[in-house]
Each structure stands twice: as C-alpha cells, then as structure tokens.
Amino acid sequence: MRLRSFNGHFLGLQRHAWRVGAGLLILAVVAVALPAQALTAADQLAAYAAQSGQTPQAAPGQEFFVIKHGHEWACASCHTAKPTVEGKHASTGKTIRPMAPAANPERFTDPAKTEKWFRRNCNDVLRRECTSAEKADVLAWLLTLKP
C-alpha cells in the first residue's frame, strides 16, 4: 500500500507501521478492559424470574403477548403473533426485526435496551409497566419459538 503525503510525494508504508501497531494495541487493550454488557436471553429470563419470585410460564406469556389489554394495541400488533418473522410498527410501518431470540440472536442481550423497550411498549399496550412475572412469561414463550 502506498501512501501519498500532503505535498504529493510517495511514502513507504514502513514509515507508518508503528501507527498501525499502536492502534491495534490500543484496540486490544480496550476490548479486554471494557466491561461485558451482553447477557444471553436465558440470563435475562433468569433475572426476571428471580425478581418475580415465580416460575416463568410460556403459555401465559403467549396469551399476554397476543391479546389486547383493554386498549388499542397488543404486543402482536407490531411484533406479530409469532415473532420469528419481521414485524411492522402499527403507526409508522417501520420494519421491526424478529423478537424471538432463535430468529434474531441480538434480542435480549442488552438489559438496558430490554428494559427501555418494555417500559415504553408496556405503557403503550397496557398503560402501565409490565411486572417482572409478565416479562418472564413473555421471554419464556419467545425462547420456545423456532424460525
């Protein structure tokens, strides 16, 4: 690879190899030092179950997900009744990637993100926060789904 300096002269890569090496070293140190925020969906299920003090149940989780709770939307209104497929935002039409971890391995790996969306979406669907038991049931059910 040839590098051209500002005044137009060619410079050999070897003159800048130390910069590449330093950058890689910094990256490596940072990658090791950063606390791992990612958990598995199973970890999050265990956390909600512990918080609720109950055993999560998939069947009630499914029912909870597909019914309307006295208002305009169900979870399924955006996420579909079997979220191994893409969903669609009920107002904006924006595509929503599948919720089932088997169909979308990113799901439920970031607790802060999970909590943020539960907060928002439970407010929309139920006009209240979901309980830990409800979250656990829903997650238990989602974990049973295979694409």
Binding site: S91, T92, K94, R120, D124
Partner: protein, 152 residues
C-alpha cells in the same frame, strides 16, 4: 462592484432559503440520535424543526405522537444538546407547527403543495411522516426533489 456582489450574495441567500430541500445541507446525524430516534421512523434532520419545538418534543417523549418514546435522562441529554445546536433557524421557523409536527410546518406544506391528500393516504405512501416512501434517500438525510418517486 461591491453593490453587485451584495445583490448577488443576497439573491443566493434568499434562493437557498426558499429552495432549501434539505437535500444538500444536512449535517450527519449524531449517532445516538440515529440509534434512539430512528427505531420507529427515519432520523428527521434536526434542521426541520426549531429549537423550541425540539425542546418540547424531548420533554414530551412519553406521549410522542401516540406512543411512549421515553428516554433516560443520560441518553436524552446529548440528543437534546445536538438538536438545539442543529435546529432550524430563521423566518420559516418563527411559528411552531401544531403538535410540533414537521409535516404540518408551513414550509413542508408549501414544498408538498403539488401532492394531494389522496396521495399521502395511499397505503404505499403511509402518510406525510413517512418520508422514505417517496424520498428514497430520506434515511441518509437526502430529500432531493429530483429523486422523488411517488409509489402507486
């Protein structure tokens, strides 16, 4: 000579204001704005609303056009700061649109005065807030009117 220059520059300034189609002058969105505010719709350019409008939207996120879009304070702060710094300014933003809704801004209505209500209602378009339906590069902040394709 100087008068001509002044007239020329004023004309340019006036023209760019009147014709601003957000196609060429959008700053790249703050990454966290894109992450947090483009989950349900496109990342509307900060220049499309005034600073006071953005402020009201950020305060009222639990009731964001019919849904809860709330953010924790730590996440909201840099977004608000960026919006305030990049908000639209000048005469066209002197009046806030109803509900701080971009598609009800007088500039938006003027820019789309050739698009009938019926067109906005088409299923393929999905309303005036769904810029991407006709502006294929809206997600990148490009609304160039020469690249508009209105679906049937």
């Amino acid at each position: 000579m100087r008068t001509a220059l002044l007239i020329g520059l004023s004309a340019l300034g006036f023209a760019s204001g009147a014709l601003a189609d957000f196609g060429r002058s959008n700053p790249a969105p703050l990454p966290i704005y894109k992450t947090e505010c483009a989950a349900c719709h496109i990342a509307y350019p900060a220049g499309m609303l005034s600073a006071p409008s953005w402020q009201q939207l950020m305060i009222g996120l639990t009731k964001h056009f019919g849904t809860d879009a709330s953010l924790d304070a730590a996440t909201a702060k840099p977004i608000s700061t960026w919006l305030q710094a990049n908000a639209g300014t000048g005469r066209r933003f002197s009046d806030a649109p109803p509900d701080n809704r971009i598609s009800k801004s007088s500039w938006f209505v003027r820019q789309h005065d050739e698009v009938s209500v019926a067109v906005f209602k088409r299923a393929s378009v999905g309303g005036a807030a769904n810029c991407g339906a006709c502006h294929g590069h809206a997600a990148e902040g490009n609304f160039n009117e020469h690249e508009v394709r209105i679906p049937k």
